[in-house]
Every structure is written in C-alpha cells, then in structure tokens.
Amino acid sequence: MPDTLDSIEISMRRIEAQSALFSPVISRLAVLRLRKVSGTCRSARVNVWRNHAIESVIELTRPYLEFGRLQIEFSLSDYDDSLLFASHAPADLELLWLDSTRYSSLGPLDTWLEWLDDRIRALRILTGAPIILATWLTEVGQRPPLTALVDSFPGVFLADLGQTCDDLGAALIDHRTAAMAGSAISRHAQILLARELACHWLPATLAPPIKAVALDLDNTLHDGVLGEDGISGVRLTPAHRALQEDIKSLLERGIFIALVSRNEHAEVEELFGKRDDYPLRWEDFSAIEVSWADKPAALSRVARRLRIGLDAILFIDDNPGELASVATMLPELHTLRAEPDAEHTRFALTYYPGLWRWKTGADDAKRLRDLQATVEREAMMARTDDMAEYFRSLQVSLTVHIDPPDLIDRLTELCNKTNQFNLALRRFTQAEIAARMASGGACVAAVRMKDRLSDSGVVAAIVAERIDTRLIIEDLCISCRALGRQLEDAVVLAAIRAMPLLDGCEKVCFQVRHGQRNRPALDWLARLAGMTGLPEPGIHIAPLQNVLEFTPPVGVKVTCLTN
C-alpha cells in the first residue's frame, strides 16, 4: 500500500506549487521559495556546453523539474566559445547553450553555421544522446537556415531562445547585466526560458510523454455544478471556453481526452448534446467514466480502455480531496488542480511537463481513430471463428520498410514509448537509429499496418545487426495499438524476412531484457522459440526455419520496400 500521509502531503504541496509555477504572471521569489515537492523522480544527467552563464536559469528550472518528476544533474562546462567538448562524459542529453552574438567577428552567418555544423558532428562522434541547441539569432530572417541545419541532424533539436521570447512577448536581452552576470539574458527571459526548458524542452527529450488527459467536469470544464445548476445553469466563462478549446487541440496532436466525473451519465450526455456553445463534444472523449463510483477505479479503467499506462495520464480535477485520493491510490498518475480561474488551469495545462512535443507526426493523429476501430475489430473477431475471413473482410495490409530515413523520428518514438511489446527495452536514440540505417552490418525495419477501419501508420520497429552468421535482433517493439489483432507473428517475422542481412544467416537471436511491463513481448518470444517458461534476460536463439518458413495469415497482404 502507498504511504497515505506522504501521498496526501505531496498532493497538497503540488497544488501549492502549481499556483506559483503556472501563474500567468510568474513571481521569481514565489518560485524560489516553494517547498520541496518530494516523491519519485526520474533522474537524468545533462551536459551543458556553453559560452555564457546558465546558472540563474538552472536555479529557476529546479521547482518546475521537480513538479514534473524530473531530477536533473547538470554538468556545466567552462565558458568555451570554441566548443571543444573537453573531458566529455556520458550523459542522457547534451545541451549547447550558446550566445551567438559572440561569434559575430567570424563573419557572415554562413561561416558560423558551417562551424556549428562541424561542432555538432564532433559532438555526435562522442555520443548518441539527444542534443539541444539553445541559442538565438539577432535577425528574424537568419532563423530559417539555422533551423534547416539542426533539422539535418537526427536527434538534434533547436530551442530558439529569441523566437520563444518573441512568442511570449518578452525581451530576451538586457545589456545591463552582461558583464557582471556573464550573460545578457534579461530578468523576464530567465524565468520564461527556465519554464520552457523544464516543462517543454527537457521532458520532451528525457521523459515518457503524457498520452491522455482525463478531465473532471464540474468546476473544471465549466463553472458550476451540473446536478445543482442544471444544463443551462452551468456557465461557460470565456476562460473555460478557451480551456476547452486548448483541450480539444490536444486531439490533433494524438493525445486522448477522457471524461471522469461523478454525475448522472445520462445528464452529462444530455449536457454535451444541448450545450452547442461547448467546444468539446461528447464524441471527442475516447473514454467516458461518468458515475458515482470512486475516481481511482474509474481512472484505472480509462488506462485499460486507452491501452496506456497510468503514468501516461494527466488527471485534472478541482477537488483537492479527490486529487489526494487519486494520488494515494495511483501514485504514478499525473495530477493538476483545476483552478477557480480557468485561465490558470490553461497555463498549467500548457506547461505540464510531458505534454509538449518537439514534433507532431502524421501517426499521432491516427491514434484516436485507431482506438475507435479497435472496438469494432474486437466485435468482429468475437463474431467469427474463421480468422482468414476476418482478415479478408478487414483488408489487412502490412508494409515493411527497410532502413527508411524518413521514418527515423517515428522509429525512435516507438523504441522509447513502447513498454508492453518491447523485447529488449534498448531505448535507441535518433542518432543510434540513423547510424544503424547507415551501417552495412545493421538494419532497421519499420512496419506500417492498415485495414479498412483505420490506417494505424508505423506500428513496429525492429533493429538488427549481423555478427558472423547470426542475425541479432537488438530490439523489437510493437505499438500497443497494434496488439491483440493476431498479427504479432506477421509483423515481426515478415520484417525479419525482408532484411537483406538475413541472407546466409544460420541463426536468428533475440536480445531480451525484463522490464516492468514487457511481459507480452516475452510471452511472444517464448511461444516462437518453444520455451516452457519466460525467456531470461540475455540472448535467445529462435529456430531459423520459423522465420524462413513463415507465411502471412491468409487474408493479410504483406509488401516489402527496401530503401
């Protein structure tokens, strides 16, 4: 059982911290004076290579990082305009914190960009970890070539400090302090950049993403209580409208939304049917739990329905007691308090660590339609004993892509987000995926899945290397949205068979690592290799003929595309 007193205390401190951290107008003193929000944190090490001071910004990131359950050890280099990466030690992330104006003597922008390109390549030789370049250019017109340079590297991201401050209406530079503080970043910019760093840039690179937002209804999505004020009596204030619009926009980024409310189900459905001024519609919710049952149980059902972990859900409720209860029973769940002023809730939602993404791909938006299709598929499967007919009626097609450079982002995402069907939990970085695609001795396969109900996009990543006459499967991940369709064998074995590296191999070996949730992948390998129990961590040989003689199920079309 969780420690009840501690959980409640943590929950209360989080509510207190939320008000200070996500106020529309942030007080530096209030942020610095926050009491520690203890609890479990994910630890990471960040190397900072810099030519100006970052200490004041780091100091301000700490309360935000702690709120987002991240504990970062920053290792700061000396000031070094030349970026020599002296005494480089392994880290989870490399942060280049550069004042670009210090290079103006180098000449035109192109010269600096060439130098920067060289330095990023030099760092990439030292590490496969993600790299964030945090800098600014004085002229807006100079930004596109810098963006293009960064985008040309897998696993490198641009934190444009100038653009960020422009977007937030703050001045980036304050020349009063440059000489004394070692940086010209202004007072206002320091706190805003600390918030971006701690709530957007670092979590998007280092922490598992939030995949769903579960929402209470009364005094959260509107002002008032449905059971007391009635359908026409609950108030959609301008701030609540804006909050609902923000929540609706999450759908475009592939983030599920769920409704978890203590109310009469029929009355809530009627509310969404009648209140056409509400931006959110009943059908926007991928999971609905409206009853008088307790919320921890309801949230657990939401996680099962959405096929995601509780640690991938952010729950928003106005009732501190409800939040404390949920935090006690489900400590891994993320929570936010819906504030009386919905504008404050909007800010907290905008900056909640783990919701922001560096990029949103086409596969993100497919996730929602896929979940609806899952319900229809399960009903179809339950009605038939003839799987061939089932596959034929669904018009299932799998497309295997070998070493596809345009899918590096998605493949990296699969390696890092997949927990259940992930055999070795290698968590490859973009740079590592790109290196394997470029290597003659390694191979990366992506598998797209589509049927007449939905296009699931790329649902699997298989990373392999050839050692002598063995094909070693370094990692094997299938998105949870593709599981339960009786297609796991087809996805994996079709991909392995399509790998040119398989030619001449005498053995296919699978690397195995045990995690908290990867039992489905372990069960699959045990069945493939004819084991009686679960495979132990290490390397396991599977019969080669199981791969070579594999034929896709009748009714499933498989296509292979080699880059």
């Binding site: 007080s27 530096r28 003193l29 610095l32 004076r33 001071a53 200490e55 004041s56 100091e59 020349h175 009063r176 302090t177 004394m180 503080a181 070692g182 007072r187 320091q190």
Partner: protein, 87 residues
C-alpha cells in the same frame, strides 16, 4: 513609481531585501543585519544578479548598470531602494 513601492516604508523594504537574500543565498537573515558581499562567499556575481533581479521584481523598480555593480550590502540596497521610492 510602482504600486508596490508606493506604500512601502523602510522596514518593509528592508524585510523584502532580507527575504530575497535569504531565499537566493539559502541563508537565514534577521532584521538589523548588514550583510556585505565581501563577507559572504555564497554572494558571488551570479547570485548577485539573481538577488537584484528578484528585488527589482518585488520592489517594482529597476537599477541601472552602475547601481547593480555598486549595491553590495543590505544597507546600500535598502538606501538605494528608498532613494528611488522618494524620488
């Protein structure tokens, strides 16, 4: 003159300065103390800027470059803030 400063007297300004110093330097301070930078190793140039930025926010005023460099004790900061208050 800022709204924050309008109704502040010397004691309130001093209390604000001590609160900010105590928070940034993570040291206990009490009214009447005249801490000086040279006597406090933790009060380095980076912390000094953090202190001054936080004070600017709390007092609703802005110090110029020369003041930022020269204000190196509780008393001098309070005097400078009062002078701006009365200006």
């Amino acid at each position: 003159m800022s709204d924050q400063l309008t109704n502040m007297d010397r004691n309130q300004i001093e209390q604000t300065v001590l609160t900010v110093l105590g928070t940034v330097l993570k040291l206990p301070f009490s009214v009447g103390m005249d801490l000086r930078r040279r006597d406090c190793p933790a009060w380095d140039s980076l912390k000094h800027i953090e202190i001054m930025f936080t004070l600017e926010e709390e007092l609703g005023m802005e110090f110029n470059e020369a003041e930022l460099a020269a204000l190196d004790s509780v008393v001098s900061i309070v005097e400078a803030a009062l002078a701006k208050h009365e200006a």
